[in-house]
């Protein structure tokens, strides 16, 4: 068991040790690659860059209970970059929200596992997403309502760095600080690549940390999003920020864990070929 201090905000979560987390992250990565490979569509790159953050969050930080997905006092994870459903579904399946076998239905007609996140499909998916830039606002709304109803929860909103182009993100950033809303944690998966190209070539969003600070947020930046201990430390810090919103900017590698996908814009939204799939799965194998 890890030594995560209990948050003053609620019951402690069951925590897992780092070797367990590493194995779990590898399983999630294998699910991601397999889901996208089998249906020949989906977004592996941003799913793989977010995997370690999701693994630590769901394992050690998020107050949740897969047996009671509608538990009112649960923390919420909001996937604002709604194309990264492979990572989201694989994580939910790993935690028992539904059978891992159901991952094979991803993006197929009649599935609950839609291409982009759909609120409540299945339970555990907390928001509808796909059109970028809306999740932070949605998370702010959840926290405003929770505060009104006296619920002591946290809302973790995952965004991409390309997503920071959207003006609504900054409307939400301004409003969150204005309302002194705490328990709202923005997680930026800064993998440096968006749909067409590298983010630096598409639209300059830096210095992102200074922008969030200027909007009134507490910020930790340049956290290694693949160092599980560093991720955990940053998430604990963000969880315990009081009096206002917190933002963690993770430096990640798009396609992390699969050599030919890493830092390659092609795999934002493309499946691997047969040969590439075999190579990816061998790279992601347990020892």
């Amino acid at each position: 068991m890890s030594t995560i201090p209990e948050s003053g905000w609620g019951t402690p979560v069951v925590t897992e040790t780092q070797p367990d987390l590493s194995a779990r992250a590898r399983r999630i990565r294998r699910h991601i690659v397999q889901m996208v490979y089998e249906v020949k569509s989906g977004h592996p790159g941003g799913s793989l860059s977010a995997t370690d953050i999701l693994t630590v969050l769901y394992s050690n930080l998020l107050k949740h209970d897969p047996q009671r997905p509608d538990w009112p006092e649960r923390d919420r994870f909001v996937m604002s970059k709604g194309h990264c459903t492979p990572a989201q579904y694989a994580t939910l399946a790993e935690f028992g929200y539904f059978d891992v076998e159901e991952l094979a239905t991803f993006r197929r007609l009649g599935t609950r596992l839609q291409g982009h996140s759909v609120l409540g499909s299945p339970q555990g998916v907390e928001n509808t997403a796909g059109s970028l830039g809306m999740g932070l606002s949605f998370g702010l709304g959840i926290r405003l309502a929770a505060r009104l109803k006296g619920l002591d929860n946290h809302v973790y909103v995952m965004m991409g760095d390309g997503e920071q182009d959207e003006g609504q993100v900054w409307e939400a950033a301004m409003a969150s600080a204005h309302h002194s809303i705490d328990g709202l944690v923005a997680l930026v998966d800064r993998n440096g690549i968006q749909n067409d190209d590298f983010t630096a070539a598409t639209m300059s969003t830096e210095p992102l940390d200074e922008k969030y600070r200027a909007f009134g947020w507490d910020v930790r930046s340049s956290v290694d999003g693949h160092d599980l201990a560093a991720v955990e430390q940053a998430l604990i810090w963000a969880r315990d920020v009081r009096g206002g919103p917190a933002c963690v900017i993770f430096d990640t590698v798009k396609g992390k864990g699969v050599s030919f996908m890493e830092n390659n814009p092609t795999f934002h939204g493309a499946p691997p070929s047969d040969e590439q799939f075999e190579l990816a799965m061998s790279e992601l194998a347990d020892d």
């Binding site: 928001n127 509808t128 059109s131 606002s137 709304g141 959840i142 405003l144 309502a145 009104l148 409307e171």
Partner: protein
């Protein structure tokens, strides 16, 4: 006559007082505002329930998405601003509200050309088309302040998303004896057998004037207030078509994409009859008093009367 007619009032004036009453009656309401709460009347709610009133500044997209988040914790959320600014958050209304079918009511004031002096940018002539394009949304335009209060209450008590267009102008009270609003149902305002005149919002009063004028010519016009545009009361439309044989739709909206177009589509399959239309004809408005702009845009009792004559003449 011993009683005097009620003073004219704007349909937008019903929002704040109705929400206060409903919250006092025990409903779980939250109100979101984008710096126009004084104009929409929503801000009155803040005086009574400040903890349930959230300001978002002039940022409609954030307001709508945040309202969606609020709604997931069980409150009925009311969002208000001007009708033209509601369209600013179309994508958010579509993805974050309509698709998850959340319990959100958008009350959009200053609807139609009767926003008047503010000019074309402030005059929403396309909002009914835009909001009717959203699956799950109920679209309502009350004809007076009494019906407006009834529509707000119906939305607060009914799950799922609503769009309610209210108006800036003070107009006559048509339901001085109480509302007859029923969600999803056309309200008969006058009986008649020669033609049916259908309208909503501020055009209902002008339609009633037209019916009076037609009576003087021996044309007996039925008048329906189609306050609920979505879902459309197709049964009332079909009955009107069968029983009067001709229909005129008059609306404060672009003619090619409003109630007239929706009614014609419905009747084309149910019971086609001659139809004529009064509305904004593919143009933007201009500054002027609300009634001047309505007149110059052709939204008059005279135009409705002329359309009714044409429709009756086309009956086989």
């Amino acid at each position: 006559m011993t009683s005097t007619a009620p003073a004219p009032a704007a349909t937008r004036e019903a929002l704040g007082p109705t929400l206060i009453r409903l919250q006092q009656e025990g409903l779980d309401l939250v109100v979101c505002d984008a710096d126009l709460g004084n104009s929409t009347s929503a801000r009155a709610f803040r005086n009574e329930f400040p903890e349930r009133f959230f300001t978002f500044g002039i940022a409609e997209q954030n307001m709508v998405s945040a309202a969606a988040g609020i709604a997931t914790l069980g409150s009925s959320v009311f969002v208000s601003t001007f009708a033209v600014f509601a369209e600013h958050a179309y994508d958010q209304l579509r993805m974050a509200v309509a698709q998850p079918n959340l319990n959100i009511t958008f009350v959009a004031s200053h609807g139609g050309v009767s926003a008047g002096e503010d000019g074309a940018s402030a005059q929403s002539i396309e909002d009914i088309a835009v909001m009717s394009s959203l699956v799950n949304f109920r679209v309502i335009v009350p004809a007076d302040v009494v019906e407006s209060a009834a529509a707000v209450e119906a939305a607060a008590r009914t799950p799922g998303p609503f769009y309610i267009r209210t108006a800036r102008a003070k107009t006559s009270v048509l339901y001085a004896d109480g509302p007859r609003f029923e969600l999803g149902k056309a309200t008969p305002m006058r009986d008649g057998g020669d033609v049916t005149l259908i309208s909503y919002g501020l055009m209902v009063e002008r339609t009633l004037e037209a019916a009076e004028s037609l009576a003087g010519e021996g044309i007996d016009a039925r008048v329906l207030n189609m306050a609920t545009i979505r879902p459309l009361d197709v049964d009332a439309l079909e009955a009107a078509a069968r029983e009067t044989g001709a229909i005129v739709v008059a609306e404060e909206h672009l003619m090619h994409s409003g109630l007239g177009a929706m009614a014609a589509q419905a009747l084309a399959t149910r019971h086609p009859v001659p139809m004529e239309f009064v509305g904004v004809d593919n143009r933007y408005g201009e500054s002027g008093t609300w009634s001047e702009v309505m007149d110059v845009m052709g939204l008059t009792a005279d135009r409705i009367t002329e359309a009714a004559r044409r429709a009756v003449a086309r009956k086989a």
